[in-house]
């Protein structure tokens, strides 16, 4: 049987790709692992940041509340808005440089991976905050009023009524954000994170076969994103719930 991984003298691009992928399998695996690790952790923590900021931006005080409480909320809202604006209006690659070198210059020995995760979290958080805000805004005001009218506090209303519905509405956007992050981790090679892009750069340099090397990771990125996309589609369908319901027969006799 012909072993396709046993190419010794690659002649065309296809063979070079297989050769490189085979020879540097360890590096590509490590790169894939790190890319996934940063993307997953960065996205999840970023979602958390986004939800908190999105909720803060929706929070309200009533005119009768204590003046300090109202002032504090205004201040927090302003800080949140500044953060969101800064991270949405600058490129992630620049953010990575500034955060990594900024922190090191301040005398803190941060590893490239930690800095990479931090950048991903902050970047995702800023975008997610806007998504969450829009998701919250898309929920009919009547849902809130229904809860308020029974004495639910605005916070409880948010947690039990508004957020679960908003969450469902923004699942596609969350999936999108994750896939974007999976690909955007490639920019972290500028701060020497050993992720997929960095792996391809290194491998390509060894044989001056950049085209083939980058093709290898293109395939890996594609397979990863394609697979996650399918998983998300499946989850979204599952989340939409059953379309029928069972009558509670034990209560059929009403009167």
């Amino acid at each position: 049987m012909l072993n396709i991984f046993a190419i010794e003298n690659p002649e065309n691009s296809m063979e070079w790709m297989i050769f490189l992928a085979n020879k540097y399998a360890g590096m590509f695996w490590k790169g894939t692992g790190l890319t996934l690790f940063i993307a997953v952790l960065g996205t999840l923590l970023g979602f958390l940041v986004g939800y908190v900021i999105g909720m803060i931006q929706d929070a309200q005080t009533s005119p009768g509340d204590h003046v300090i409480r109202r002032l504090l909320l205004k201040l927090i809202k302003f800080a949140a808005a500044v953060y969101v604006e800064i991270f949405r209006d600058t490129p992630m690659i620049v953010q990575a440089m500034i955060i990594y070198f900024g922190i090191r210059q301040a005398g803190v020995e941060i590893t490239p991976v930690s800095a990479g995760i931090l950048v991903t979290v902050l970047n995702t958080g800023a975008y997610m905050a806007e998504t969450v805000r829009a998701g919250i805004g898309s929920i009919d005001q009547g849902q809130r009023e229904g809860a308020w009218a029974m004495g639910m506090s605005p916070m409880k209303t948010m947690v039990y009524i508004v957020l679960p519905q908003a969450f469902k509405n923004i699942i596609p956007e969350m999936a999108n954000t994750f896939l974007t992050n999976l690909k955007m981790t490639s920019v972290l090679n500028v701060i020497a994170v050993q992720e997929l892009f960095m792996a391809a750069k290194t491998v390509g340099g060894n044989y001056y076969k950049y085209f083939e090397s980058y093709l290898v990771i293109a395939v890996i990125y594609f397979v990863l994103c394609f697979a996650f996309n399918k998983v998300f589609n499946f989850l979204e369908k599952r989340m939409s719930g059953k379309s029928d319901y069972a009558l509670a027969a034990e209560y059929m006799d009403n009167d």
């Binding site: 004495g151 039990y160 029928d244 319901y245 509670a248 209560y251 009403n254």
Partner: protein
């Protein structure tokens, strides 16, 4: 006269330049069934929403058992947990089943244990004929069914007053009856109710007091027997004649 539950005092509400409520004074006593009627835009819904603090009044006070309900979130929450509200658009929670809709606030606001919240939910759902649908989601119900669940949900809180904001206005004509029947059954239990409605026959037959609103004022406030047969105000007469003719 029995005890006053809610007292509306010199209430004014403006949206920009538009005066929606003008100098409203109104007392709601225990056991009363008050129907508020009037043409669209006369301020009836806004008055009801002010009563439940969903709308901030421009000036004036809402008193609850003689104590002012101030603009402090905790006081408002406590007040609302004792004053129920049923909406024109039902406002059932879309992310929950019928049973969960009826149990959420008794659990999270009144802090009832699960069994007690469940028993209350079933009791009230049975009363409105919706107990078999506990596993359904709001989107799977008809308008009339949704409104009956909304009424049961409000009753689970054991409210001292129940406010209805045009509860049948969003319903198909054939579903209006089932909701009005539930409300009629409630009326005989002695529950205090304030109902904004366009159902004149219901107001005439069920209310103990009917209020006609016009241009943000309370134009007439009388027992239904008098308001419907011998209205004093010319606007009331005009309004009623249109309804009786139609």
């Amino acid at each position: 006269m029995s005890e006053t539950i809610i007292s509306v005092q010199n209430l004014n509400k403006t949206f920009g330049d538009h005066e929606v409520l003008r100098k409203i004074d109104m007392d709601i006593h225990v056991g009363e069934i008050i129907c508020i009627v009037g043409s669209s835009g006369s301020g009836k819904s806004t008055l009801l929403r002010c009563m439940n603090r969903l709308e901030h009044q421009t000036s004036g006070k809402i008193m609850f058992y003689g104590k002012e309900v101030r603009d402090v979130q905790r006081e408002i929450n406590e007040y609302r947990s004792r004053v129920g509200m049923v909406f024109q658009s039902f406002n059932l929670f879309h992310n929950m089943t019928v049973l969960e809709n009826c149990m959420l606030c008794t659990r999270k606001v009144l802090h009832l244990v699960k069994e007690e919240a469940f028993d209350r939910a079933i009791t009230h759902l049975k009363a409105v004929g919706m107990a078999p649908y506990i596993n359904a989601r709001p989107s799977q119900l008809s308008g009339g069914q949704k409104q009956r669940v909304a009424i049961a949900r409000a009753l689970c809180m054991n409210p001292e007053v129940l406010l209805f904001d045009e509860p049948t206005s969003a319903l198909d004509p054939e579903m209006v009856g089932e909701v009005l029947n539930v409300m009629k059954k409630l009326a005989v239990t002695g529950l205090t109710m304030v109902i904004v409605t366009h159902e004149m026959a219901f107001a005439r037959d069920v209310s103990t007091r009917t209020i006609f609103m016009d241009g943000g004022y309370v134009a007439e406030d009388a027992p239904p027997a008098r308001l419907f047969t011998n209205p004093k105000n010319s606007r009331t007469r005009e309004f009623l004649s249109r309804y009786l003719a139609g």
